[in-house]
């Protein structure tokens, strides 16, 4: 369990009550650094313990889907299955069963559990822009089709969890299309020259 002690960000000394919840900066009693500490009731609220679930005592009473010998307490908000206290996962006020939790995490349906996203628009944009830099132009035959593919393939895939436009995808499509067009023109000119010789 984490300690309830709070320390100064500079001297790492434990802070005392006289510096808590001030309207503006105060000073660390040890090092004198400007300091503001806001405390909330959660600091002294004990952590809620887990429930093992009650045993089923009466026949005909609703039981847990996963533990038939235990009493159902809540239905899963996703699949509707009855859950005992042990199977009930409280996710930001929502009651979810372990199976829904696992599938939701794997498929990315539970936004509250998402901890990472791949930014395909950034990858596509970088692939389209890098060949424009000196020394990287000879990668164009590889990067341009890759950028175009990524931009089209992941157009509808959510990128960042925070608001973000499709500008990078558009830029990737435009630039990679122009690069592919340029490559086609270049190849055509070379073929014509070879044939004419």
């Amino acid at each position: 369990m984490a300690s309830t002690q709070l320390t100064c960000g500079r001297c790492k000394e434990t802070l005392t009550a006289d510096v808590f919840n001030t309207p503006d900066l105060t000073h660390c009693p040890t090092c004198g650094a400007g300091l503001r500490v806001l405390l909330y009731p959660a600091l002294f609220k004990p952590l809620a313990g887990g429930s093992a679930g009650e045993r089923l005592m009466v026949d005909g009473e609703a039981s847990c889907f996963y533990h038939p010998q235990k009493k159902a307490e809540v239905p899963c908000n996703r699949c509707g299955r009855f859950l005992c206290g042990l199977c009930d996962v409280d996710l930001n006020g929502e009651h979810i069963c372990p199976a829904c939790l696992q599938s939701g995490t794997q498929k990315g349906k539970l936004e509250a559990l998402e901890s990472k996203r791949v930014l395909y628009d950034d990858i596509a944009c970088s692939l389209a822009v890098w060949p424009l830099l000196p020394f990287f132009w000879f990668f164009t035959p590889l990067t341009a089709p890759a950028a175009l593919f990524l931009a089209i393939r992941y157009w509808n895939t959510p990128t960042s969890i925070v608001p973000r436009s499709k500008t990078r995808f558009v830029l990737a499509i435009v630039l990679s299309s122009l690069q592919i067009l340029g490559l086609i023109v270049l190849a055509s000119v070379m073929v014509i020259n070879i044939r004419s010789q």
């Binding site: 100064c8 009550a17 808590f20």
Partner: protein, 355 residues
């Protein structure tokens, strides 16, 4: 496929990994409906950490020395760049060196001004029951203060004020009663560690006035080569140094504002820079005119005969001296007037001046 349900609002501040060559990472804090989202961008992916209002136990902000460190680095780079460009100029072309020197001074001067203007730096962290997480995006006190003021009522509303009361202080066993967050109107228990006394700012005023006088003397000296002017300038420099040291001592544990303090410290940096440049000029002059090497009086007489048009280094010293003294003098006086206006001894609720 994930669905974007929560609309996030970006909170001020963004940190970037300046010296990372392999990945361009940045971190930023967002405000959600019932939580704070800490987003770390690693160029091609993002990772998220959520701090729900009901789980946040504490928000802590501590002032850091990062701004001063950056300013010192910029000052060193500016001086180093100037010296380097002067050496290049001595070997090649004076005009090239002049442009290089001006470029260095302007570039680092702008960076210095931006860094100073953004205000003091800080480190922040959020504490929950299971971990303590640094909020690297909140690097400036101004930004952190705004964010704290914004989220404080939200967290308080989410947790309610009913449970406020017992907060551990020095250990788990010992507890004491503390005030509730300011949003619910409980008076704070702030106590400054040292008594603050009122400072009238007499020496500050003299320092800023002498800086303005120095600027005027240097302007005249720019056009007129006269021994008396050079002597006056040298004496003024010594007077400014004495006043500066006195002002720095006087403002210790006083009610002098941060801006005014910053200007006095900037004056110290400015005078240090001028002394370095003066020393550089002495070295160069000594190489070209060995007869002035061992005699300060001869050197002063030699300087009084020199025109800024004769030497790039001297021109640089004059320009920096005129602009630096003038700007610091004006800004210092303006800040001092503000100090006098808003912090009269009686209104400030502090003891009257000791002197």
């Amino acid at each position: 496929m994930a669905t974007d349900k929560t609309v996030y609002r970006p909170l001020g501040g963004k940190s970037r990994a300046l010296f990372s060559l392999t990945t361009a990472t940045s971190e930023r804090l967002y405000l959600g409906v019932d939580h704070l989202l800490y987003l770390r961008n690693e160029q091609f992916s993002e990772s998220y950490k959520r701090f729900y209002f009901r789980d946040i136990q504490a928000l802590v902000m501590t002032e850091s020395t990062r701004r001063n460190t950056i300013n010192i680095v910029l000052l060193v780079l500016a001086i180093g760049g100037s010296v380097l460009s002067w050496m290049i100029g001595a070997a090649t072309d004076v005009m090239v060196a002049a442009y290089l020197q001006a470029g260095f001074i302007v570039l680092f001067g702008i960076l210095f001004a931006v860094n100073a203007g953004l205000g003091p730096t800080c480190t922040c962290y959020v504490k929950t029951a299971v971990h303590t997480h640094a909020l690297a995006s909140l690097m400036r006190v101004r930004t952190a203060r705004k964010v704290f003021d914004l989220v404080n009522p939200l967290i308080t509303a989410a947790q309610g004020a009913a449970a406020l009361g017992q907060v551990p202080t020095s250990g788990l066993a010992q507890t004491t009663t503390v005030a509730a967050p300011p949003v619910i109107g409980v008076p704070p228990l702030a106590k400054p560690p040292k008594p603050v006394r009122h400072e009238g700012g007499r020496f500050h005023a003299l320092l800023f006035l002498s800086l303005l006088v120095d600027s005027a003397v240097t302007v005249v000296d720019y056009f007129v080569n006269d021994l008396m002017l050079t002597l006056t300038s040298v004496l003024l420099t010594f007077a400014m140094l004495a006043l500066l040291v006195t002002a720095l001592i006087r403002q210790l544990n006083s009610d002098i504002g941060k801006t005014l303090r910053g200007i006095v410290w900037s004056a110290l940096g400015y005078l240090a820079l001028m002394m370095v440049l003066g020393y550089l000029h002495l070295v160069v002059s000594s190489i070209e005119h060995p007869e002035i090497q061992s005699d300060q009086w001869e050197w002063i007489k030699f300087v009084s005969t020199q025109s800024p048009q004769d030497s790039l280094l001297l021109m640089t010293i004059y320009v920096i001296s005129i602009l630096g003294s003038f700007l610091l003098g004006i800004l210092g006086l303006a800040a001092l007037f503000q100090h006098w206006r808003y912090r009269p001894p009686a209104a400030a609720g502090v003891p009257p001046p000791m002197n």
